[in-house]
């Protein structure tokens, strides 16, 4: 479904480590080691409900202040704001143009 001309660089990195304008495809969700007050498995479910799920192509649109946190990410045709801490549960492969 995605453009074949682009190629994905290397293996998975965390969404929380991406900078502005980066484009990537989500390859997995892994909430281990993320500090939240939520029950186990809950962060993953919420991420899926916001469209952050394997196969979705995302683009980092905006960054907050200070420390470039939170981040606004376009997921297919909507935009989701999330903190970098939680974005680290999303494993992506960067798409190089």
């Amino acid at each position: 479904m995605h453009n074949h001309a682009r190629h994905k660089a290397g293996h998975g990195v965390k969404l929380g480590s991406l900078g502005k304008k980066a484009r990537a495809e989500i390859v997995g969700l892994d909430e281990t080691g993320i500090a939240t007050p939520l029950q186990a498995g809950e962060l993953e479910r919420r991420l899926i409900e916001m469209g952050l799920v394997e196969g979705a192509v995302i683009e980092v649109l905006h960054e907050g202040f200070p420390r470039r946190d939170p981040m606004a990410v376009r997921v297919s045709d909507h935009t989701v704001a999330l903190r970098r801490a939680e974005a680290n549960a999303v494993i992506v492969q960067v798409i190089e143009e």
Partner: protein, 633 residues
Amino acid sequence: MTHHKPPPPPRIALVGNPNCGKTALFNAMTGARQKVANYAGVTVERKEGLFVSPAGTRVKVIDLPGTYSLRARSPDEEVTRDVVLGRMEDEEVPEAIVCVADATNLRLNLRLVLELKKLDRPIILALNMMDEAEKQGMTIDAAELSAALGIPVVPTVAIQTGGVQALLDQIDRTIQVAETEGFAPVHAQCGWSEPNAHDLRDYHREVERIIALSVTSPTRPHLATHRIDTVLLHPAAGLAILLTLLFLMFQAVFTWARLPMELIDGGLTLVKGLVDANMADGPLRSLLTDGVIAGVGSVVIFLPQILVLFLFIQILEDSGYMARAAFLLDRLMGGVGLHGRAFIPLLSSFACAVPGIMAARTIENRADRIATIMIAPLMTCSARLPVYTLIIAAFVPQRDVLGGWVGLPGLVMFALYAAGILSGLIVAFVLKRTILHGAREPLLMQLPAYRLPRPRNVALGLFERAKAFLTRAGTTIFALMVVIWFLASYPGAPEGATEPAIHYSIAGMIGHFLEPVLAPIGFNWQIAVALVPGMAAREVAVGVLGTIYALSDSGDSLRSSLGGLLAASWSLPTALSLLAWYVFAPQCIATLGVVRRELNSLVWPAVMFVFLTGLAYLAAFTTYRVAVAVLGG
């Protein structure tokens, strides 16, 4: 079905993601025939309306809080889940569900539709914002979508006349089908159970399949929104714009409301004059002029300011800017342990802490929510405006500063608001570091596309506000003012009294009794009297002062305005001390009540009352002492 008694009107519930246009659709269907059980701002409370369908059936509609899933994450979303599942007490299961979806943004909405389908109830999908979808070059095959989902799908444009006709027609058809088949049993076992991550991925795949079948969309949507956000979400420019916006908002509360307030004031004086001229002197005339007109009137006069404030909040809400404000402030508010989403409840609290505290329902985590609720009353609510305005008008000279851009009274007002905000942040910091510590709830929110707020929707929202405020003034405040007038008038002065009669009244006695406690912070007995009913409704304090000074005015008719009277009888330190007191103003009963209800605890309202009273006393004491030392008593 028997025809002895007309059956109750069928009820439909509007369910959908936040910002998909549920409220706009609700307004389009019901017009002004709606009943909001509580305050405006964000859709937190139960909103019910009535309309007559094209086939002539009376139908009830309920506007529910936005949600992404029936797996409610916050108390706010629990309302939606419980109504839809028929778990809500005193609330029948709706006969049909209208799932509202933003057509430009179908994925998350369709996932919810798939979940709702498990309920086995009549569902209609309203594809709202079709005008936007067309503008963006999207084509949606409604028939294909309907076939794939197995439910009727109708396109709507909630903001155009006739834009909901297709939906109304479909509601008729759905009701007819339901009627011939007999309405589903009210407490039927439904097929819904909380989905796990695996189910959610399945839903997601199904949505992708359906979208591939029925939607063709352009590659880069929301270009305008993206461009605007490049500025409004810019770390520096965005924050500067947010601050400017808030500052303008508070300036506008003053300048725009001035003229209508003068008109109301003029009207009241006119009525008072008429009463004085046409009625014999006596208790009834005193009740009318000193109790009702001076008391209730001095509260009603603030309607324009409250409306201006709500106008701003409503526009920010409808345009989609509120989510941006939460984004901009999340990290900064995180410094004191607050959630970015706390911004909306806190901003609403500037209008009134009650809807503000209720809006905190959108914060899922209990510790985060308590912290937000505890500081909500420190955001200066509009009921405190009357007090501020009165004292500032009486004691702060009208002078332009900063090259004529800002008036000195406006600046003082801004300082008072800032003091409230600052102390709120400090309190939150302390709370989150001590009794409420723990990680913050994840942010995870959608940034909706910008929409031009619609005058009609804004007007309907404001109309609800005005209605609520005037009802309150006409009932609670009116009753309180009559009581106060009575307490301030009886018993009358004894023979050969030297002081004005109020001195000897019950109110006078209460005031004199409290005076020793309040003397260290510079309050006289008149203020002491005003503080007690001020607990019931803060704005009443002004009304009480109005009544007390009207009754104790010993014929000096030159000083007709309350402000003038105060300027003549209070010292500047006393005025400043009262301002400082009101920054923290121990809670009005309504706020304490809503805290109890929202947190289902007696401890937290008690804690709130004690710490606010303590802070108020401390602030007033410090202000008074410093002012006396600097200015002289």
